[in-house]
């Protein structure tokens, strides 16, 4: 459903992404791992139209989206949960979720919201709370729930486990799997390679702007090289 072919992204003179190609097939969980500064967030931002690639093509559901503005890309069913829990701090939980349905102009969003609350019961308890006062984990859940409100076919998550306690990380990953089971394909960027590889169908390893290794999640967990570099042993 998503096919990226040879993209090159620059920040001024810095060549951040060097000829990356990757693919997500319908129904998959694909993870993109790599060290700090490897360019993972840059890849996601380029896919969602916040950055532009100098070359290559980004194809989503058979359409070249590499020149579309970001709001058009969201309308096509490709949602991005950016790094660092970007919620609307001054709005309530419910208002945040309503903003997530921004592209769903004429649709009744109540059912979507019920689904989000079913995935994240904690948000239901706090639907009237101002998002700025949520804990970090709750904000992450809210950012994910908000993205679900746009009814994405493909959801891109940038480090959802960042700064969360192990128990919460497990919860978040369980929810990602559940979302996937309900039909949303997932492109997951993670520092927590162990967890990411354990739920991923396929994985790509990014090293200083290029794909170094790719394979199924299991293959990469078994690989010595990956274990040394990213799994701490």
């Amino acid at each position: 459903m998503l096919k990226i072919d040879n993209i090159n992204v620059y920040y001024g003179a810095i060549h951040a992404i060097k000829g990356v190609s990757l693919e997500v097939t319908e129904g998959e969980i694909v993870t993109l791992i790599g060290a700090n500064g490897a360019g993972k967030s840059t890849v996601l931002k380029t896919i969602s139209g916040l950055l532009r690639s100098k070359t290559g093509e980004i194809n989503f559901m058979g359409e070249n989206i590499s020149t579309l503005p970001s709001h058009k890309i969201v309308e096509r069913g490709l949602a991005h949960v950016p790094e660092g829990r970007r919620v609307f701090l001054q709005m309530t939980v419910q208002e945040n979720l309503e903003m997530g349905a921004y592209t769903q102009k004429n649709r009744d969003t109540d059912a979507d919201m019920e689904q989000v609350f079913a995935l994240f019961p904690r948000l239901l308890e706090r639907r009237k709370q101002i998002a700025g006062t949520l804990s970090g984990g709750e904000q992450q859940m809210l950012a994910m729930g908000r993205a679900m409100m746009s009814r994405p076919r493909l959801l891109m998550l940038d480090e959802p486990s960042m700064g969360l306690a192990p128990l919460l990380v497990e919860q978040i990953f369980a929810i990602i799997q559940e979302m996937n089971k309900k039909g949303t394909s997932i492109l997951l960027v993670e520092q927590n390679a162990q967890m990411a590889l354990s739920i991923a169908d396929r994985a790509y390893v990014l090293e200083t702007g290029s794909i170094a290794v790719s394979g199924t999640g299991e293959e990469l967990i078994e690989s010595d090289k990956i274990r040394k570099a990213y799994l701490g042993g």
Binding site: S48, L50, P69, S70, H71, I73, V74, E75, A79, H80, V81, P82, R86, V87, F88, L89, Q90, M91, T92, E95, E98, M99, G100, Y102, T103, K128, Q129, I130, G132, T133, A143, R146, A147, M149, S150
Partner: protein
């Protein structure tokens, strides 16, 4: 549903206060119990209220700093008066001519807003402050060099020359005379006109804020990256808020200029922009009623405190510095959000009304 009720109520409070104030003042004026100095200030108060509310749209609701709001006022003032004079023989009824002039003033200011907005609002960062600051100064200088006259052939315009270069025919009249500005204006502005403009401004601004577009604009202010990630077209909504704000300032400029017999570009300088900014900041960012009250009180106050007038700018400076610190310091901002969040959480849904009022 409940939320809509609350919104309606807080809007009704604003409209109600404005209408009641107008009616009371009209009654007091009718009975002759109003000082002539206050009476002379009624139109300027209306002008500054519209200026403050419209600037609040850019600063409080959109969250972009504009330091040249008086520039849009200037564009509206000069184009509005030129239109008014040019239309003298065509529309004889003063109030109608003035309303049309205000529309033209607003349209020209909106155009200026579009020209500034297209390059600047695409960028993220504090570029708007710098560009609007420059805009205010540039407009002032352009008008100082501008000569416009009218004769039977129509409007004649000349730049960087003198009024003589207009080569007006017999019976022609100079309208804008370079640095001398416009003189011999027929005073058309009335308190009722000002009141009407305030109501129109409130109608436009409040409707925008509580619309789907308004939500999108505030989402952009809260967190641009998150807003873009949910599919909000950032440039479109920034332009919408900024251009609306400019247009309203243009209409206020026409109202202002048509209240005096002469108007010069120097009136709409940086100090005026800052004065309006102070109204907005003191009234509360995003707080429309606050802007109305601050603009009113701070326009009347200097008259009443004439003996302290010298210290006014000093107080402004101190307040501005404090507010700059407060809004640019993330720790401080976070603290405010937390305190606010706690208060709102305690009051439950009561906080809804405050959604626009931070």
């Amino acid at each position: 549903m409940k939320r809509i009720g609350k919104r309606l109520r807080s809007n009704l409070v604003i409209y109600g206060l404005v209408v009641v104030t107008y009616v009371v003042l009209q009654m007091v004026m009718g009975s002759g119990h109003i000082s002539s100095s206050l009476q002379g200030q009624l139109v300027p108060i209306c002008v500054y209220v519209v200026m403050a509310v419209s600037l609040n749209l850019t600063i409080g609701v959109l969250g972009e700093l504009s330091l040249g709001h008086a520039g849009f006022m200037s564009v509206g003032a000069f184009t509005g008066v030129v239109a008014c004079i040019a239309l003298e023989g065509i529309i004889s009824l003063g109030a109608v001519r003035m309303a049309v002039s205000m529309l033209i003033g607003a349209a020209c200011a909106a155009l200026a807003g579009v020209l500034i907005g297209i390059p600047v609002l695409r960028l993220s960062g504090d570029y708007l402050a710098i560009v609007t600051l420059a805009f205010g100064e540039i407009i002032k200088n352009i008008i100082n060099c501008l000569y416009v006259g009218i004769d039977h052939r129509g409007l004649r315009i000349s730049f960087l020359t003198s009024a003589a270069a207009l080569e007006l025919a017999e019976g022609g009249r100079v309208i804008i005379d370079g640095p001398m500005g416009i003189s011999g204006i027929k005073k058309l502005s009335t308190f009722t006109m000002g009141f009407a403009l305030i109501l129109i401004t409130l109608f436009i601004v409040l409707n925008l804020i509580y619309s789907r577009s308004g939500r999108a604009i505030m989402a952009l202010r809260d967190n641009r990256i998150a807003a873009e990630s949910v599919g909000i077209p950032a440039t479109k909504y920034k332009m919408m808020a900024f251009v609306t704000s400019a247009a309203l300032a243009g209409a206020a400029g026409t109202l202002y200029a048509l209240n005096y017999s002469t108007v010069t570009a120097a009136k709409f300088n940086f100090n005026t922009s800052i004065l309006i900014l102070v109204f907005v900041v003191l009234g509360g960012l995003g707080n429309i009623l606050g802007s109305i009250i601050a603009a009113t009180v701070l326009t009347i106050l200097p008259e009443m405190l004439r003996q302290f007038n010298d210290y006014r700018m000093l107080v402004y400076a101190v307040v501005l510095i404090l507010v700059m610190l407060a809004t640019n310091n993330d720790d401080f901002k976070g603290l405010l959000y937390q305190i606010r969040g706690k208060i709102l959480a305690r009051n439950g849904t009561k906080g809804k009304e405050g959604a626009v009022n931070e």
